[in-house]
């Protein structure tokens, strides 16, 4: 079809589609869809019985975005900041707004530090981290790890080998650094 004003014809008419596909067209009216219009002012629809919610007790200093006027009345209490990662997180929140890449890069860096700190801390417990059970990698043997990949046109197979590097890489690096340090120390002591 040349580039004309007409819309290319469809293979099936609306009537054929209505007969073939259950529910075809039941939401045809754009103005009668839940998301329309985008803004629907209706305070009675939510079930709330307050103008502004009561404030949840702040049991420990809660980090917050500098773009907020105040601590929100309700907040999560899952994992308060701790250790070096906690220091980095508090700094990221206090110093940089969400608009700054530094805010997010510091938080991502803190996540990596947190993982290392937590792994090291786990070695002082009766349940140290176990990369075999925690990665669920044994399911490769019970859930068709090979047949889920071989002979299939999956583009993710190209980068999947990077996953074990991400998991084990920091440990190998730390091990290499520790080995190098011990070796250097031994050499210094001998000399």
């Amino acid at each position: 079809m040349a580039y004309t004003a007409d819309k290319p014809p469809l293979a099936a008419s609306s009537e054929e589609l209505r007969n073939r596909i259950p529910g075809w067209g039941v939401d045809l009216d754009r103005k009668d869809r839940p998301a329309f219009p985008k803004l629907q002012f209706d305070l009675s629809a939510t079930g709330a019985h307050w103008d502004f919610p009561e404030r949840q007790e702040e049991k420990r200093p809660r980090e917050r975005s500098v773009e907020h006027k105040f601590l929100t009345p309700v907040f999560g209490t899952s994992c308060p900041p701790r250790g070096l990662s906690g220091v980095i997180r508090r700094y990221a929140y206090k110093r940089y707004s969400e608009a700054r890449a530094a805010h997010w890069l510091l938080l991502l860096g803190a996540d990596r530090v947190d993982a290392m700190e937590s792994h090291l801390r786990s070695f002082a417990t009766l349940r140290p981290d176990n990369p075999i059970t925690q990665t669920g990698v044994l399911s490769e043997f019970t859930r068709h790890g090979i047949s889920s990949r071989v002979g299939r046109k999956r583009t993710d197979l190209v980068h999947q080998p990077l996953d074990p590097v991400i998991v084990a890489g920091p440990w190998l690096l730390a091990g290499a650094l520790a080995y190098g340090g011990v070796k250097k120390l031994t050499r210094l002591m001998r000399s």
Partner: protein
């Protein structure tokens, strides 16, 4: 209680944790019966979302029974069987008052750019999630709804995010009768978006992915025409060829931050975390849709920048619609559609995994083993 706990990228385990207490007069504590792992959980599992702390319990899709309520709760009581939308919202802020429940301003001190989400990093408020035996549910009078007697548990749990998000995604496409709709991604949200597009009168629904078993599901569940992008040198050119070189009227990105199809984009975002997300599907959407068309973005991206082709979007005069789904706003209509048999959310469930084996569940879903599309997590004797 037993709860899934994040231990660092690609690592989770089940630990003993304290049962969450009521921390606010409008809190409820819910005994979780069933949860799900969402595709977006994989982004935090892979360490992509900033401020994902070791020790957090994930899970923003769950249903259960009310165990305890705070002193100001009026609409729920212990013993009620409830479904909980993934959004945490107050019901009265500027945004909630206008129906933008996913953008609530009163629940997330950590960021103003996103609302509160259960078990989804401290960037989304620092709330523990529902992949556990118990979970704290703030604003119990606003978020949760009692599950209708006729509704199946598995349908209910999928309505807390995946199904509602797919349906919302189709609405943001502003579909009119006879529109050609292309959906990038045949995961749960993509499947529901494709299915929903027909309800809005689409004339043709196309689904793109690289996993053949998911495309098969798109054909059988969503009546879609499917293409595996690995079979084409350039999927955008193919989209043009099959739409008489105009492009689709509407394109829906149902992939988000870990999209495949361009190694550089994927590695710099999903592996090296240098972008907020890999915008391959979004860029394909921009280039596949016709000039003047509409893009609906349902894929989740991190707060950092991403290499999106805004020049093409601008030059083509596209309309871009996006948001986290305000789930509860979708429910009355979705309940009708489920009851009338137009949608059967549980049809996409492929795996039912006990909480104790959740590490395997994450790996199976992440590595796409065993033809996995949607894994559920079973707790408390389910």
């Amino acid at each position: 209680m037993r709860a899934m706990v994040y231990r660092g990228p690609y690592k989770v385990r089940v630990e003993e944790k304290d049962i969450p207490p009521v921390e606010h007069p409008n809190d409820a504590i819910v005994r979780v019966g069933m949860a799900a792992i969402c595709g977006s959980d994989l982004h935090i599992y892979h360490g992509m979302m900033p401020d994902t702390r070791v020790g957090m319990t994930f899970g923003h899709e769950f249903i259960g029974v009310v165990e305890d309520v705070g002193s100001s709760v009026q609409h729920l009581k212990p013993g009620d069987r409830v479904m909980v939308p993934f959004n945490i919202f107050c019901g009265t802020c500027f945004f909630c008052a206008r129906g933008l429940y996913s953008n609530c301003h009163n629940v997330n001190p950590n960021a103003t750019a996103v609302g509160g989400i259960y078990g989804y990093s401290h960037t989304c408020g620092g709330y523990d999630g529902g992949q556990a035996e118990f979970v704290r549910v703030p604003f119990a009078d606003v978020g949760p709804t009692i599950i209708p007697d006729w509704m199946d548990d598995e349908d209910a749990v999928l309505l807390t995010d995946a199904c509602a998000t797919g349906y919302f995604g189709a609405q943001l496409g502003d579909i009119v009768e006879g529109d050609v709709v292309v959906v990038f991604g045949a995961g749960p949200v993509g499947l529901f978006a494709a299915k929903s597009a027909w309800l809005m009168g689409a004339g043709r629904v196309i689904v793109i992915d690289h996993l053949e078993y998911r495309l098969e599901k798109a054909r059988s569940f969503a009546h879609a025409e499917t293409y595996n992008f690995t079979e084409y040198d350039d999927i955008v050119v193919h989209m043009k060829k099959i739409t008489d070189h105009l492009g689709a009227d509407v394109a829906i990105d149902a992939v988000g931050a870990e999209a495949d199809g361009n190694l550089l984009q994927h590695v710099t975002s999903a592996k090296l975390k240098l972008q907020g997300g890999s915008p391959i599907a979004l860029n394909w959407a921009i280039d596949s849709v016709r000039k003047g068309g509409t893009i609906s973005v349902m894929g989740a991206y991190g707060p950092m920048f991403s290499a999106v082709k805004f020049g093409d979007a601008m030059n083509k005069g596209l309309t871009l619609h996006m948001n986290q789904c305000p789930v509860k706003r979708q429910w009355p209509r979705l309940f009708e559609h489920v009851r009338n048999g137009y949608l059967k959310p549980s049809d996409i469930v492929t795996h039912r995994i006990p909480l104790e084996h959740i590490a395997e569940g994450y790996h199976i879903f992440s590595a796409k083993l065993d033809n996995c599309i949607k894994p559920l997590i079973l707790t408390n004797g389910h």
